[in-house]
Protein backbone atom coordinates (compact mmCIF):
# COMPACT_ATOMS: atom_id res chain seq x y z
CA UNK A 1 0.00 0.00 0.00
CA UNK A 2 1.12 3.53 -0.78
CA UNK A 3 2.83 4.99 2.31
CA UNK A 4 1.03 8.32 1.89
CA UNK A 5 -2.34 6.58 1.67
CA UNK A 6 -1.49 4.53 4.75
CA UNK A 7 -0.50 7.66 6.67
CA UNK A 8 -3.73 9.33 5.57
CA UNK A 9 -5.80 6.43 6.86
CA UNK A 10 -4.01 6.46 10.21
CA UNK A 11 -4.51 10.21 10.63
CA UNK A 12 -8.15 9.82 9.58
CA UNK A 13 -8.80 7.14 12.18
CA UNK A 14 -7.03 9.09 14.92
CA UNK A 15 -9.12 12.17 14.19
CA UNK A 16 -12.35 10.13 14.04
CA UNK A 17 -11.49 8.55 17.42
CA UNK A 18 -10.68 11.99 18.87
CA UNK A 19 -13.96 13.50 17.69
CA UNK A 20 -16.02 10.50 18.84
CA UNK A 21 -14.41 10.84 22.26
CA UNK A 22 -16.50 14.01 22.75
CA UNK A 23 -19.77 12.14 23.16
CA UNK A 24 -18.51 8.64 24.01
CA UNK A 25 -16.28 9.93 26.81
CA UNK A 26 -16.18 13.67 27.47
CA UNK A 27 -14.90 16.91 26.03
CA UNK A 28 -11.14 16.86 26.30
CA UNK A 29 -7.99 18.06 24.61
CA UNK A 30 -8.36 15.18 22.14
CA UNK A 31 -11.78 16.26 20.95
CA UNK A 32 -10.57 19.86 20.87
CA UNK A 33 -7.67 18.84 18.60
CA UNK A 34 -10.12 17.13 16.21
CA UNK A 35 -12.48 20.11 16.29
CA UNK A 36 -9.77 22.71 15.72
CA UNK A 37 -8.19 20.61 12.95
CA UNK A 38 -11.55 20.39 11.19
CA UNK A 39 -12.19 24.13 11.49
CA UNK A 40 -8.71 25.16 10.43
CA UNK A 41 -8.55 22.83 7.41
CA UNK A 42 -12.04 23.92 6.33
CA UNK A 43 -11.03 27.57 6.63
CA UNK A 44 -7.85 26.91 4.68
CA UNK A 45 -9.86 25.24 1.90
CA UNK A 46 -12.33 28.13 1.82
CA UNK A 47 -9.49 30.64 1.64
CA UNK A 48 -7.64 28.82 -1.13
CA UNK A 49 -10.89 28.38 -3.08
CA UNK A 50 -11.83 32.04 -2.65
CA UNK A 51 -8.42 33.30 -3.72
CA UNK A 52 -8.53 31.00 -6.76
CA UNK A 53 -11.96 32.28 -7.70
CA UNK A 54 -11.00 35.94 -7.31
CA UNK A 55 -7.99 35.32 -9.50
CA UNK A 56 -9.90 33.31 -12.15
CA UNK A 57 -13.08 35.39 -12.34
CA UNK A 58 -11.78 38.79 -11.21
CA UNK A 59 -8.11 39.62 -11.56
CA UNK A 60 -7.27 37.68 -14.74
CA UNK A 61 -10.24 38.93 -16.82
CA UNK A 62 -9.64 42.43 -15.46
CA UNK A 63 -6.05 42.36 -16.67
CA UNK A 64 -7.37 41.12 -20.02
CA UNK A 65 -9.38 44.31 -20.41
CA UNK A 66 -12.73 43.66 -18.71
CA UNK A 67 -12.70 46.97 -16.87
CA UNK A 68 -16.30 46.66 -15.65
CA UNK A 69 -15.12 44.00 -13.22
CA UNK A 70 -13.70 46.85 -11.15
CA UNK A 71 -17.25 47.44 -9.86
CA UNK A 72 -17.78 44.01 -8.18
CA UNK A 73 -14.15 43.98 -7.02
CA UNK A 74 -14.61 47.39 -5.39
CA UNK A 75 -17.89 46.23 -3.80
CA UNK A 76 -16.08 43.19 -2.44
CA UNK A 77 -13.31 45.30 -0.95
CA UNK A 78 -15.90 47.59 0.65
CA UNK A 79 -17.08 44.69 2.84
CA UNK A 80 -13.79 45.05 4.74
CA UNK A 81 -14.69 48.63 5.67
CA UNK A 82 -16.49 47.13 8.69
CA UNK A 83 -13.09 46.93 10.37
CA UNK A 84 -12.89 50.73 10.39
CA UNK A 85 -15.63 52.32 12.47
CA UNK A 86 -15.54 55.59 10.56
CA UNK A 87 -16.10 53.95 7.16
CA UNK A 88 -18.10 50.90 8.29
CA UNK A 89 -21.28 52.10 6.56
CA UNK A 90 -19.70 51.41 3.15
CA UNK A 91 -20.18 47.68 3.70
CA UNK A 92 -23.94 48.27 3.47
CA UNK A 93 -23.55 49.09 -0.22
CA UNK A 94 -22.00 45.70 -0.91
CA UNK A 95 -24.57 43.87 1.18
CA UNK A 96 -27.39 45.83 -0.50
CA UNK A 97 -26.23 44.66 -3.92
CA UNK A 98 -25.78 41.03 -2.83
CA UNK A 99 -29.13 40.86 -1.03
CA UNK A 100 -30.95 42.91 -3.67
CA UNK A 101 -29.84 40.66 -6.51
CA UNK A 102 -30.57 37.53 -4.45
CA UNK A 103 -34.06 38.66 -3.46
CA UNK A 104 -34.80 39.84 -6.99
CA UNK A 105 -33.97 36.44 -8.45
CA UNK A 106 -35.80 34.50 -5.76
CA UNK A 107 -38.97 36.62 -5.85
CA UNK A 108 -39.08 36.55 -9.63
CA UNK A 109 -38.96 32.75 -9.81
CA UNK A 110 -40.48 31.50 -6.58
CA UNK A 111 -44.03 32.69 -7.35
CA UNK A 112 -44.18 30.34 -10.31
CA UNK A 113 -42.47 27.38 -8.65
CA UNK A 114 -43.63 27.42 -5.07
CA UNK A 115 -47.12 28.88 -5.48
CA UNK A 116 -48.52 28.40 -8.98
CA UNK A 117 -47.03 24.96 -9.65
CA UNK A 118 -48.06 23.65 -6.26
CA UNK A 119 -51.52 25.08 -6.79
CA UNK A 120 -51.98 23.55 -10.23
CA UNK A 121 -50.66 20.16 -9.06
CA UNK A 122 -53.12 20.22 -6.17
CA UNK A 123 -55.97 19.70 -8.63
CA UNK A 124 -56.09 15.93 -8.35
CA UNK A 125 -58.17 13.33 -10.10
CA UNK A 126 -60.48 11.30 -7.88
CA UNK A 127 -62.39 9.44 -10.60
CA UNK A 128 -61.19 7.11 -13.36
CA UNK A 129 -58.10 6.26 -11.33
CA UNK A 130 -57.29 3.17 -9.21
CA UNK A 131 -59.05 3.10 -5.84
CA UNK A 132 -55.81 3.51 -3.87
CA UNK A 133 -54.81 6.57 -5.93
CA UNK A 134 -58.28 8.05 -5.56
CA UNK A 135 -58.17 7.55 -1.76
CA UNK A 136 -54.71 9.11 -1.62
CA UNK A 137 -55.84 12.07 -3.73
CA UNK A 138 -58.94 12.61 -1.57
CA UNK A 139 -56.72 12.61 1.52
CA UNK A 140 -54.40 15.13 -0.15
CA UNK A 141 -57.31 17.42 -1.00
CA UNK A 142 -58.68 17.22 2.56
CA UNK A 143 -55.19 17.90 3.94
CA UNK A 144 -54.82 20.89 1.63
CA UNK A 145 -58.10 22.49 2.67
CA UNK A 146 -57.59 21.81 6.37
CA UNK A 147 -54.02 23.15 6.32
CA UNK A 148 -54.90 26.28 4.34
CA UNK A 149 -57.84 26.91 6.70
CA UNK A 150 -55.39 27.00 9.61
CA UNK A 151 -54.04 30.27 8.21
CA UNK A 152 -57.42 32.02 8.17
CA UNK A 153 -56.82 34.64 10.82
CA UNK A 154 -59.70 36.99 10.08
CA UNK A 155 -62.37 34.78 11.67
CA UNK A 156 -62.53 33.57 15.26
CA UNK A 157 -61.30 30.02 15.82
CA UNK A 158 -64.65 28.60 16.88
CA UNK A 159 -67.18 26.03 15.69
CA UNK A 160 -66.69 24.06 12.48
CA UNK A 161 -63.76 26.22 11.37
CA UNK A 162 -61.89 25.45 14.57
CA UNK A 163 -62.36 21.71 14.04
CA UNK A 164 -61.13 21.93 10.45
CA UNK A 165 -58.18 24.04 11.59
CA UNK A 166 -57.30 21.46 14.23
CA UNK A 167 -57.08 18.80 11.50
CA UNK A 168 -54.96 21.22 9.49
CA UNK A 169 -52.59 21.44 12.45
CA UNK A 170 -52.39 17.64 12.61
CA UNK A 171 -51.51 17.46 8.91
CA UNK A 172 -48.80 20.07 9.41
CA UNK A 173 -47.46 18.10 12.38
CA UNK A 174 -47.25 15.03 10.15
CA UNK A 175 -45.20 17.07 7.66
CA UNK A 176 -42.93 18.49 10.35
CA UNK A 177 -42.52 14.99 11.74
CA UNK A 178 -41.50 13.76 8.29
CA UNK A 179 -38.99 16.61 7.98
CA UNK A 180 -37.58 15.89 11.43
CA UNK A 181 -37.43 12.16 10.73
CA UNK A 182 -35.66 12.58 7.42
CA UNK A 183 -33.17 15.01 8.99
CA UNK A 184 -32.40 12.49 11.75
CA UNK A 185 -32.05 9.78 9.10
CA UNK A 186 -29.65 11.96 7.15
CA UNK A 187 -27.49 12.74 10.20
CA UNK A 188 -27.52 9.08 11.16
CA UNK A 189 -26.39 8.26 7.63
CA UNK A 190 -23.36 10.55 8.13
CA UNK A 191 -22.62 8.94 11.49
CA UNK A 192 -22.80 5.42 10.09
CA UNK A 193 -20.64 6.37 7.10
CA UNK A 194 -17.94 7.71 9.43
CA UNK A 195 -17.98 4.51 11.49
CA UNK A 196 -17.71 2.52 8.27
CA UNK A 197 -14.72 4.62 7.18
CA UNK A 198 -13.10 3.94 10.55
CA UNK A 199 -13.70 0.20 10.26
CA UNK A 200 -12.65 0.13 6.60
CA UNK A 201 -9.33 1.72 7.50
CA UNK A 202 -8.84 -1.09 10.04
CA UNK A 203 -9.57 -3.66 7.36
CA UNK A 204 -13.01 -4.51 8.75
CA UNK A 205 -16.46 -3.90 7.23
CA UNK A 206 -15.20 -4.29 3.67
Amino acid sequence: MDALLMAGMIVQNILIAFSFSMFLWRRSILSDIAEQTFISTSMAMVLVGAVGQIRANGITPLLNGKVLLLVPIALGILIYSQFFRKYAFFQRWSMAVVLGVGFGIVIMTSVETTILRNLSESVLQVTQVPVATAANNILMIIALFCTVSYFIFTRPRTGALARVQRFGRYFMMVYFGAVFGSTVMSRLGNYIAIIQTFLNNLGMAT
Binding site: F20, F23, L24, W25, M45, V46, G49, A50, G52, Q53, A56, N57, T60, P61, V101, G102, I105, V106, T109, S110, E112, T113, R117, N118, E121, Y175, A178, V179, S182, T183, V184, M185, S186, R187, L188, G189, N190, Y191, I192, A193, I194, I195, Q196, T197, L199, M204, A205
Partner: protein
Protein backbone atom coordinates in the same frame (compact mmCIF):
# COMPACT_ATOMS: atom_id res chain seq x y z
CA UNK B 1 -26.80 15.91 33.72
CA UNK B 2 -29.57 15.76 36.37
CA UNK B 3 -29.16 12.94 38.83
CA UNK B 4 -32.24 10.73 39.36
CA UNK B 5 -32.07 11.26 43.09
CA UNK B 6 -31.74 15.00 42.60
CA UNK B 7 -34.70 15.01 40.20
CA UNK B 8 -36.80 13.23 42.80
CA UNK B 9 -35.69 15.61 45.53
CA UNK B 10 -36.47 18.67 43.40
CA UNK B 11 -40.07 17.61 42.90
CA UNK B 12 -40.37 16.37 46.46
CA UNK B 13 -41.37 12.84 45.50
CA UNK B 14 -39.76 9.45 45.00
CA UNK B 15 -37.87 8.99 41.73
CA UNK B 16 -39.85 7.30 39.00
CA UNK B 17 -38.73 5.27 35.99
CA UNK B 18 -39.22 8.41 33.88
CA UNK B 19 -36.89 10.33 36.22
CA UNK B 20 -34.30 7.59 35.94
CA UNK B 21 -34.49 7.50 32.13
CA UNK B 22 -34.48 11.30 31.92
CA UNK B 23 -31.42 11.57 34.11
CA UNK B 24 -29.59 8.66 32.46
CA UNK B 25 -26.10 9.40 31.24
CA UNK B 26 -26.53 9.91 27.50
CA UNK B 27 -23.15 8.34 26.83
CA UNK B 28 -24.76 4.94 27.37
CA UNK B 29 -27.04 5.61 24.42
CA UNK B 30 -24.15 6.78 22.24
CA UNK B 31 -22.12 3.70 23.15
CA UNK B 32 -25.07 1.44 22.43
CA UNK B 33 -25.72 3.11 19.07
CA UNK B 34 -22.05 3.00 18.09
CA UNK B 35 -21.60 -0.66 19.05
CA UNK B 36 -24.84 -1.60 17.29
CA UNK B 37 -23.84 0.20 14.09
CA UNK B 38 -20.28 -1.21 14.18
CA UNK B 39 -21.61 -4.75 14.70
CA UNK B 40 -24.02 -4.43 11.80
CA UNK B 41 -21.20 -3.11 9.62
CA UNK B 42 -18.93 -6.03 10.46
CA UNK B 43 -21.54 -8.81 10.31
CA UNK B 44 -23.08 -9.25 6.88
CA UNK B 45 -26.85 -9.72 7.08
CA UNK B 46 -28.76 -9.36 3.84
CA UNK B 47 -31.84 -7.18 4.19
CA UNK B 48 -33.88 -6.96 0.96
CA UNK B 49 -33.53 -3.65 -0.84
CA UNK B 50 -36.65 -1.95 -2.18
CA UNK B 51 -36.12 0.11 -5.31
CA UNK B 52 -38.38 3.17 -5.24
CA UNK B 53 -40.27 4.64 -8.19
CA UNK B 54 -38.28 7.85 -7.97
CA UNK B 55 -35.00 5.95 -8.44
CA UNK B 56 -36.44 4.05 -11.40
CA UNK B 57 -37.55 7.34 -12.91
CA UNK B 58 -34.09 8.78 -12.31
CA UNK B 59 -32.66 5.98 -14.48
CA UNK B 60 -35.41 6.44 -17.10
CA UNK B 61 -34.52 10.14 -17.13
CA UNK B 62 -30.86 9.33 -17.78
CA UNK B 63 -31.90 6.90 -20.53
CA UNK B 64 -33.82 9.69 -22.25
CA UNK B 65 -30.64 11.64 -23.07
CA UNK B 66 -29.50 11.19 -26.66
CA UNK B 67 -25.94 10.12 -27.38
CA UNK B 68 -23.80 13.24 -27.69
CA UNK B 69 -26.14 15.47 -25.72
CA UNK B 70 -24.59 17.67 -23.04
CA UNK B 71 -25.79 17.85 -19.46
CA UNK B 72 -24.72 19.95 -16.50
CA UNK B 73 -23.69 18.03 -13.39
CA UNK B 74 -23.59 20.32 -10.39
CA UNK B 75 -21.66 18.42 -7.74
CA UNK B 76 -22.39 20.37 -4.56
CA UNK B 77 -21.37 17.62 -2.17
CA UNK B 78 -19.38 18.30 0.95
CA UNK B 79 -17.10 15.58 2.31
CA UNK B 80 -19.69 14.37 4.84
CA UNK B 81 -22.48 14.40 2.26
CA UNK B 82 -20.25 12.53 -0.17
CA UNK B 83 -19.95 9.72 2.37
CA UNK B 84 -23.69 9.27 2.01
CA UNK B 85 -24.42 9.85 -1.69
CA UNK B 86 -20.97 9.69 -3.29
CA UNK B 87 -21.61 6.22 -4.68
CA UNK B 88 -24.74 7.43 -6.49
CA UNK B 89 -22.79 10.36 -7.97
CA UNK B 90 -20.07 8.07 -9.29
CA UNK B 91 -22.63 5.59 -10.67
CA UNK B 92 -24.49 8.42 -12.42
CA UNK B 93 -21.31 9.85 -13.95
CA UNK B 94 -20.19 6.41 -15.12
CA UNK B 95 -23.57 5.49 -16.61
CA UNK B 96 -23.90 8.75 -18.49
CA UNK B 97 -20.36 8.74 -19.85
CA UNK B 98 -20.65 5.11 -20.95
CA UNK B 99 -23.88 5.98 -22.76
CA UNK B 100 -22.09 8.70 -24.72
CA UNK B 101 -23.62 11.62 -22.84
CA UNK B 102 -21.23 14.54 -22.38
CA UNK B 103 -20.97 16.10 -18.96
CA UNK B 104 -20.08 19.60 -17.81
CA UNK B 105 -19.14 19.50 -14.13
CA UNK B 106 -19.26 22.48 -11.83
CA UNK B 107 -19.81 23.04 -8.13
CA UNK B 108 -21.62 25.44 -5.85
CA UNK B 109 -19.67 24.03 -2.88
CA UNK B 110 -15.91 24.09 -2.54
CA UNK B 111 -15.50 20.40 -1.73
CA UNK B 112 -17.37 19.51 -4.90
CA UNK B 113 -14.38 20.13 -7.15
CA UNK B 114 -12.05 17.60 -5.53
CA UNK B 115 -14.92 15.16 -4.93
CA UNK B 116 -15.85 15.22 -8.63
CA UNK B 117 -12.25 14.43 -9.47
CA UNK B 118 -12.21 11.57 -6.95
CA UNK B 119 -15.47 10.17 -8.36
CA UNK B 120 -14.15 10.33 -11.92
CA UNK B 121 -10.93 8.59 -10.89
CA UNK B 122 -12.91 5.76 -9.32
CA UNK B 123 -14.71 4.99 -12.60
CA UNK B 124 -12.95 1.93 -14.04
CA UNK B 125 -13.59 2.99 -17.65
CA UNK B 126 -12.62 6.66 -17.22
CA UNK B 127 -9.58 6.35 -19.52
CA UNK B 128 -11.94 5.78 -22.44
CA UNK B 129 -13.24 9.31 -22.14
CA UNK B 130 -11.39 12.38 -23.28
CA UNK B 131 -11.21 15.48 -21.11
CA UNK B 132 -12.60 18.52 -22.90
CA UNK B 133 -14.49 16.37 -25.39
CA UNK B 134 -16.51 13.88 -23.34
CA UNK B 135 -16.44 15.79 -20.09
CA UNK B 136 -15.06 18.99 -18.69
CA UNK B 137 -14.69 20.17 -15.14
CA UNK B 138 -15.27 23.70 -13.99
CA UNK B 139 -14.49 24.78 -10.46
CA UNK B 140 -16.34 26.18 -7.52
CA UNK B 141 -18.60 29.19 -8.00
CA UNK B 142 -19.71 31.24 -5.00
CA UNK B 143 -23.12 32.89 -5.09
CA UNK B 144 -25.57 29.98 -5.16
CA UNK B 145 -28.80 31.07 -6.88
CA UNK B 146 -27.07 34.10 -8.45
CA UNK B 147 -24.63 31.80 -10.27
CA UNK B 148 -27.42 29.53 -11.52
CA UNK B 149 -29.40 32.58 -12.66
CA UNK B 150 -26.36 34.00 -14.43
CA UNK B 151 -25.90 30.71 -16.31
CA UNK B 152 -29.35 31.12 -17.89
CA UNK B 153 -28.12 33.48 -20.61
CA UNK B 154 -24.35 33.45 -20.41
CA UNK B 155 -22.61 30.15 -19.73
CA UNK B 156 -19.23 31.22 -21.10
CA UNK B 157 -19.17 34.48 -19.18
CA UNK B 158 -20.25 32.88 -15.93
CA UNK B 159 -18.04 29.81 -16.01
CA UNK B 160 -15.01 31.58 -17.50
CA UNK B 161 -12.32 28.92 -17.53
CA UNK B 162 -12.21 25.28 -16.45
CA UNK B 163 -10.11 23.92 -13.57
CA UNK B 164 -7.13 23.62 -15.93
CA UNK B 165 -7.38 27.29 -16.84
CA UNK B 166 -8.70 26.73 -20.38
CA UNK B 167 -11.26 29.32 -21.45
CA UNK B 168 -14.70 28.10 -22.57
CA UNK B 169 -14.09 29.20 -26.16
CA UNK B 170 -11.10 26.84 -26.37
CA UNK B 171 -12.89 23.77 -24.97
CA UNK B 172 -14.39 21.57 -27.74
CA UNK B 173 -17.27 20.40 -25.54
CA UNK B 174 -18.30 23.99 -24.77
CA UNK B 175 -18.47 25.20 -28.37
CA UNK B 176 -22.26 25.02 -28.62
CA UNK B 177 -23.03 25.64 -24.98
CA UNK B 178 -23.84 29.33 -24.65
CA UNK B 179 -26.97 29.34 -22.49
CA UNK B 180 -28.84 26.99 -20.20
CA UNK B 181 -31.18 25.76 -22.95
CA UNK B 182 -28.16 24.29 -24.74
CA UNK B 183 -27.97 21.68 -21.98
CA UNK B 184 -30.18 18.63 -22.38
CA UNK B 185 -30.67 18.51 -18.62
CA UNK B 186 -29.19 19.27 -15.25
CA UNK B 187 -28.35 16.89 -12.43
CA UNK B 188 -27.60 18.27 -9.01
CA UNK B 189 -26.01 16.43 -6.15
CA UNK B 190 -25.64 17.75 -2.62
CA UNK B 191 -26.97 18.03 0.88
CA UNK B 192 -28.65 21.41 0.72
CA UNK B 193 -31.33 23.17 -1.28
CA UNK B 194 -29.17 23.85 -4.34
CA UNK B 195 -31.42 21.75 -6.57
CA UNK B 196 -34.19 24.30 -6.05
CA UNK B 197 -31.93 26.96 -7.62
CA UNK B 198 -31.96 24.92 -10.83
CA UNK B 199 -35.70 24.30 -10.60
CA UNK B 200 -36.35 28.02 -10.10
CA UNK B 201 -33.92 29.33 -12.67
CA UNK B 202 -33.71 26.63 -15.33
CA UNK B 203 -36.64 24.21 -15.18
CA UNK B 204 -39.52 26.60 -14.70
CA UNK B 205 -38.55 29.53 -16.94
CA UNK B 206 -36.60 27.59 -19.60
CA UNK B 207 -38.00 24.04 -19.39
CA UNK B 208 -34.59 22.47 -18.85
CA UNK B 209 -35.41 19.18 -17.10
CA UNK B 210 -33.51 18.04 -14.06
CA UNK B 211 -33.07 15.44 -11.36
CA UNK B 212 -31.11 15.31 -8.16
CA UNK B 213 -29.13 13.15 -5.77
CA UNK B 214 -29.59 14.31 -2.21
CA UNK B 215 -29.37 13.29 1.42
CA UNK B 216 -32.55 12.26 3.23
CA UNK B 217 -32.74 15.68 4.90
CA UNK B 218 -34.36 16.98 1.71
CA UNK B 219 -36.67 14.02 1.14
CA UNK B 220 -39.93 15.89 1.92
CA UNK B 221 -38.96 18.75 -0.40
CA UNK B 222 -37.77 16.43 -3.16
CA UNK B 223 -41.00 14.45 -2.94
CA UNK B 224 -42.99 17.66 -3.41
CA UNK B 225 -41.00 18.72 -6.47
CA UNK B 226 -41.10 15.19 -7.85
CA UNK B 227 -44.87 15.03 -7.53
CA UNK B 228 -45.12 18.47 -9.12
CA UNK B 229 -43.11 17.04 -12.03
CA UNK B 230 -40.34 19.59 -11.62
CA UNK B 231 -37.93 16.80 -10.73
CA UNK B 232 -37.59 13.86 -13.07
CA UNK B 233 -36.72 11.40 -10.35
CA UNK B 234 -34.28 11.59 -7.49
CA UNK B 235 -31.89 9.49 -5.50
CA UNK B 236 -32.14 9.89 -1.76
CA UNK B 237 -29.52 8.94 0.79
CA UNK B 238 -27.66 5.64 1.04
CA UNK B 239 -30.80 3.63 0.35
CA UNK B 240 -31.34 5.40 -2.95
CA UNK B 241 -27.63 5.15 -3.79
CA UNK B 242 -27.64 1.38 -3.23
CA UNK B 243 -30.86 1.07 -5.25
CA UNK B 244 -29.32 3.06 -8.11
CA UNK B 245 -26.21 0.86 -8.15
CA UNK B 246 -28.47 -2.21 -8.19
CA UNK B 247 -30.56 -0.90 -11.11
CA UNK B 248 -27.47 0.11 -13.11
CA UNK B 249 -25.72 -3.19 -12.34
CA UNK B 250 -22.70 -1.65 -10.60
CA UNK B 251 -21.12 -3.13 -7.48
CA UNK B 252 -22.24 -1.39 -4.29
CA UNK B 253 -20.40 -0.97 -1.02
CA UNK B 254 -23.55 0.13 0.76
CA UNK B 255 -25.13 -3.22 1.64
CA UNK B 256 -23.80 -3.30 5.18
CA UNK B 257 -24.47 0.41 5.67
CA UNK B 258 -28.14 -0.22 4.94
CA UNK B 259 -28.21 -2.99 7.54
CA UNK B 260 -26.61 -0.65 10.06
CA UNK B 261 -29.04 2.10 9.13
CA UNK B 262 -32.04 -0.21 9.55
CA UNK B 263 -30.80 -1.36 12.97
CA UNK B 264 -30.14 2.23 14.07
CA UNK B 265 -33.62 3.27 12.91
CA UNK B 266 -35.19 0.45 14.91
CA UNK B 267 -33.22 1.60 17.96
CA UNK B 268 -34.35 5.22 17.48
CA UNK B 269 -37.98 4.17 17.03
CA UNK B 270 -37.73 2.10 20.20
CA UNK B 271 -36.24 5.05 22.11
CA UNK B 272 -38.95 7.39 20.81
CA UNK B 273 -41.64 4.89 21.87
CA UNK B 274 -40.09 4.49 25.32
CA UNK B 275 -39.86 8.27 25.71
CA UNK B 276 -43.49 8.76 24.69
CA UNK B 277 -44.77 5.94 26.89
CA UNK B 278 -42.93 7.39 29.87
CA UNK B 279 -44.33 10.82 29.08
CA UNK B 280 -47.89 9.48 28.97
CA UNK B 281 -47.32 7.48 32.17
CA UNK B 282 -45.99 10.59 33.91
CA UNK B 283 -48.90 12.68 32.68
CA UNK B 284 -51.47 10.15 33.90
CA UNK B 285 -49.67 9.88 37.25
CA UNK B 286 -49.78 13.67 37.69
CA UNK B 287 -53.47 13.75 36.78
CA UNK B 288 -54.24 11.08 39.38
CA UNK B 289 -52.20 12.96 41.97
CA UNK B 290 -54.09 16.20 41.29
CA UNK B 291 -57.43 14.41 41.75
Amino acid sequence: MVDAKEAGQKTGRTKTLADRVHSMDRRYMWWFLTILVATMLVIDISIPLKIGDETKEFVTFMDSFKRGSVILFSNDNTVTVNNVIGEACTATMRYLLERGVKIVFMSLRQDGVSLTLASLRSIPTVDRFKYGVDYVQFGYYAGDTRVVAALQRDVWGTLGADVRGTACKDIPLMQNIKQCTDFAAWIESGGGSQFTFYINNWSVPYNVPGACIQTAANLPDMTTWYRNRLLNGFVSDQTGSAALSRVLGYPSGLGRILNAQSAAHVLLIALILVGNLLYVQEKLRNQRREK
